[in-house]
Symmetry: C2
Subunit: 220 residues, 2 copies
């Protein structure tokens, strides 16, 4: 029974890792579509999102079948329950990448971003992909130390996000309100993407040690 549980749990974590991976790829493509006003690439992200949704449903079913068939108890039960919560996080990461692609499509053939903030979004995109990769890795390794590092990676995202707001709020901003609104929402999508990766790290710590409280950081 315990062996079957371990096997099924590993299969479940593989699907979660796969969704993380696909969300990271989606965010990478979405960022490129945004920076280059590349409609075809944006459409690709939008089409491929269906696969993320499909995988999320499959992950939920897998976790559900784990509960129903293996009837885990005690700490195993906590791990499965926290698995359901991780599904929600990876699923949302995919949705946020989709949002970025949709903004690109909405503004096409224009570029959404003023040249001035391109660098910020290139870097936030890079960090988002890195965070998704880290989240995928800790889902596989279940290493709480590695999981704790995701939070530090997120600090870089928060710094960038704060700087971006400084640029926006500056009297020198010459790109008007409409561009500022887009930049504000896009910045939030990247920040929230990163938050969900952090949340996955927290849940893995919780799964591994049972001690860290998997509380969402509501300051975000």
């Amino acid at each position: 029974m315990r062996n079957a549980y371990i096997q099924q749990m590993a299969a479940f974590n593989d699907i979660l890792g796969d969704i993380c991976d696909k969300s990271g790829i989606a965010m990478e493509k979405a960022t490129n579509s945004l920076l280059q006003a590349d409609l075809a690439l944006a459409e690709e992200v939008i089409t491929e999102h269906d696969e993320i949704v499909r995988l999320s449903r499959r992950a939920e079913e897998e976790a559900f079948s784990l509960l129903a068939l293996q009837a885990p108890v005690a700490s195993d039960l906590r791990v499965v329950v926290s698995g359901f919560q991780i599904v929600a996080d990876v699923d949302r990461m995919g949705a946020l990448a989709l949002h970025v692609a949709k903004v690109t499509r909405r503004r096409f053939p224009n570029k959404t971003l003023p040249e001035e903030v391109n660098g910020y979004f290139a870097e936030m995109g890079r960090l988002a992909v890195e965070l998704a990769n880290s989240a995928r890795e800790v889902l596989v390794t279940q290493d709480p130390k590695q999981a704790a590092e995701i939070e530090e990676q997120d600090d870089a995202m928060d710094d960038l996000h704060r700087h971006l707001f400084t640029v926006l709020m500056d009297r020198e901003w010459k790109h008007g309100v409409a561009a500022a609104v887009d930049v504000t929402l896009l910045g939030r999508y990247y920040e929230r993407f990163a938050d969900h990766a952090v949340e996955i790290g927290r849940r893995v710590i919780f799964q591994a040690t049972g001690s860290a409280e998997p509380t969402a950081d509501v300051s975000k």
Copy 2:
């Protein structure tokens, strides 16, 4: 056993309803603090948020103990699992009300909103409270028909949100970029608050009928 399950499930739904209620009250106070630049009221929301966090943890523990002690199967098991997901929604609603209060505090003693958009936020605040109340009700009644109506209520929020963006994007907007950034983020907080209420409705439908797919609306 089945009886104990039903009792414990009712107790769990009561806590969820209570969090909905408190989130609605928090959003009402946060909206008033925003409209009147009332720092004391904003601080109240921020302080009272701890209670929402505490209740969310208690709800999770309650659901967990339900799983562990009652070992529900089949549709009961699905209901409990979906209960965990509802905890995440109500918890997030509280966090979004907290965000609004924090913006008020950050801008104090200034008003965050230009006079021109006060009406939008007064109305979005009213709708948010209404949505939280509806979510609380359906958690208690478990009535799928009533749950389906939450989605219609949310249409009004979406309409307002869209109009708000029209105001922002208008060339007549005279309040500068900084105010536009605040209005953009605040608008998003209200919209997301409503989305989570809709999501609760969807999950209650799923719990009651097992048929509706509890998929997050990723267009948001």
